[in-house]
């Protein structure tokens, strides 16, 4: 489905004047009338939720920046001043803090949806790749932001993660000193992290524009995973407004309810108590853990015994997402019609949750009960160290082994000829049309 032609006709004098000089009303009207596949389910609302999250984070962040002081002597106290003295400051701070968690909940669901329905496959590779870039920028922004309150976790999390840069052979040490602005994490580091934390969300917003542009060029995917040809547009699509604006609006409100439960009633539940201890470079906290949304990657980092190997694996776990469109060999997009792949996908989700859990545990701690089995290489088999390694192995195997192989060897179910078909024919798409004819390219 290609970008649709504009149906907007300027009516008033002002509209006509504007239309020949800067067609923003046309842009808005076209957006609102955009033909959207009518079978989109609730999983597709998370893109809109993410846009809202970005706006909320930027708005609250700009206000917080009016009161926050990026100096090691004053940072912690300035955050508490916001909590106590600034009008509504406690709410704004907690919205920003929990907004980051909500942002990541939404982005993980959004990415898993893309994975499940094959939204990364041709002709939508660029949407996916820019999306991966946005995800990477989100992680960077979150890491920088977490350092700013200058608590124990802020400082030591920064210490651990920047030390990874030092693990890169040859250039690691000088780059580390350049990044920190000195031999250790100090005022220079805090100031520049604040500046970059302010900058990156706007880079994300720019990438977001590219993401939407690519989306509108290639066309919105749908749960059936077939392209909608021009002649089917009237039957198979609905204008974005009011059908999907209101639908997305409803889910956004439910999302805001979850958000509110955290902000108003348990604002520190997703955080770590140690970050309310002012940073002390001379005292290491007993357990250094990142925020929950980084736990799977932290687990992968610790799974590899070699320090640099762990860094490579951690970056590779995000990097593999960028090349995903070329790893999947299946001609069928939606896993609704790929039962074998769907099983592996569900395992992948469970695996990712376990991987996250592992990230918060001590490597030596036993997984089941309290007993020891035998030492395998460098750790007991019944330990989180080995559970992390197995789950890391599945993570990479899913992309590098399972996706290419299953795509070539599975027998997908019959794909409906059109998206209206599964609905009108009662849900069981046993039509005569073969899967290949319903689309030009898999």
């Amino acid at each position: 489905m290609s970008a649709h032609e504009s149906t907007y006709v300027p009516k008033t004098g002002v509209e006509k004047w504007l239309d020949t000089r800067l067609p923003i009303i046309r842009f808005g009207a076209d957006y609102m009338s955009l033909p959207t596949p009518k079978n989109l389910n609730y999983w597709y609302t998370f893109g809109g939720i993410l846009m809202l999250c970005l706006v909320i984070q930027i708005a609250t962040g700009i206000i917080l920046a009016m009161h926050y002081v990026p100096n090691t002597e004053m940072a912690f106290a300035s955050v508490e001043r916001i909590m106590r003295d600034v009008n509504g400051g406690d709410l704004i701070r907690y919205v920003h803090m929990n907004g980051a968690s909500m942002f990541f909940i939404a982005v993980y669901i959004h990415m898993l949806r893309g994975l499940y329905y094959g939204s990364y496959k041709a002709p939508r590779e660029m949407i996916w790749i820019i999306g991966c870039l946005i995800f990477f920028l989100m992680i960077a922004t979150a890491f920088l932001g977490y350092v700013l309150p200058w608590g124990q976790m802020s400082y030591w999390g920064a210490e651990v993660i920047t030390n990874l840069i030092g693990a890169i052979p040859v250039i690691g040490e000088p780059v580390l000193i350049w990044l920190r602005g000195g031999p250790a994490i100090d005022n220079a580091t805090l100031n520049r992290f604040f500046s970059l934390h302010y900058l990156l969300p706007f880079v994300i917003a720019g990438c977001e524009v590219l993401h939407m542009w690519a989306l509108h060029t290639a066309g919105q995917n749908n749960p059936v995973g077939i392209l909608i040809p021009k002649e089917r547009e009237k039957k198979d699509t609905l204008p974005f407004h009011p059908y999907f604006t209101v639908k997305d609006g409803f889910v956004i409100i439910v999302f805001l309810m979850l958000f509110s439960v955290f902000v108003f009633f348990m604002p520190n539940a997703l955080g770590h108590a140690d970050n309310y201890i002012p940073a002390n470079p001379l005292v290491t906290p007993p357990h250094i853990v990142p925020e929950w949304y980084m736990l799977p990657f932290y687990a992968i980092l610790r799974a590899i015994p070699d320090k640099f190997g762990g860094v490579v694996a951690m970056f590779a776990s995000i990097g593999v997402l960028f090349v995903l469109p070329w790893l999947d060999t299946s001609k069928v997009r939606s896993m609704r019609y790929r039962p074998t792949m769907r099983t592996f996908f569900i395992l992948f989700v469970i695996n990712a949750l376990i991987l996250g859990w592992c990230g918060a545990q001590l490597p030596d701690a036993p997984v089941i009960g309290d007993f020891k089995t035998f030492i395998l290489i460098d750790g007991d088999l019944n330990s989180y160290l080995w559970l992390t390694r197995f789950t890391t192995a599945y993570y990479f195997a899913f992309f590098f082994v399972i996706m290419p192989l299953v795509g070539l060897r599975e027998t997908p179910k019959q794909i409906p000829a059109t998206i209206s078909e599964p609905v009108l024919s009662g849900g069981d798409a046993m039509t005569a049309a073969a899967p290949a004819s319903a689309e030009k390219k898999g």
Partner: protein, 290 residues
Amino acid sequence: MTLQMNIRAMKKTLALIAAVAGLSLAAQPALAVGEKHPPRSGGFSFEGPFGTFDQGQLQRGYKVYREVCASCHSMDLMHFRTLAEPGGPFYDSDQVSPAENRFVRALAKEVQIADIDTETGEPLMRDGTSADRFPNPYPNPTAAAAANGGAAPPDLSVMAKARGGGADYIYSLLTGYAAVPQGLQMRPGQNYNKYMSGDLTPFMPEGAEVPPGGFIAMANPLSDGQVTYDDDTVASVDQMSKDVAAYIAWASDPRQVQRKQTGMGVLIFLFIFAGITYVSYRRIWKGVAH
């Protein structure tokens, strides 16, 4: 597409979000064998979504802090005027502003604040005003550590947020001093506390059962009747511990009660808003096969 299918789809989404949220909530470091007890409940009035602070308890707690704890523990992020904020220990509905609250002014006057003479620049001590911060008992962190055997007493401004157990933990710790367990090798300058985190395995003989808790540098600071309460409440160690824990919980987040109340209103509004929007959504989509 029926209502049932919509609701099922929604339930799946919510279940997944809940699973992720639950996982993230559970992402605490594992408790190793022999670590401290989980804290005892202090039965605090401010817990739960509808909890509020008991102003009497906060006043007693402030008195315990000021008379017992403040000789070693700073509360650098607290100002006297904050005591008069709505929901705080000395809030007076007649006050013009928190800074002009008469109780807070009187309490501030009782405390000496280091300042410099406006004419000569010489350091001096003067009566506190409501705009002042709580004074730090030590001039700098090095002095604090030196005066306490190398362990600086931590600042208490956000202590209820800085410990996983919150007010319950503070209450448990203050009432958790116990007789030294049989066989425990004490380190010099340390005290045994059942609720302090730590691993006592290296300090017990081989094979002996490791007692819960750990070493804390602070000796038991409370004894019965140490503080005389103005409201005639009996000042037992248990009572003082509860009161000062509640006070510290308030000081850690003075606006929490107002926030919970606003939250109730917001959730009710969002619930109604969700209902209206859902009806609007169904009306728009009526009759559309999808």
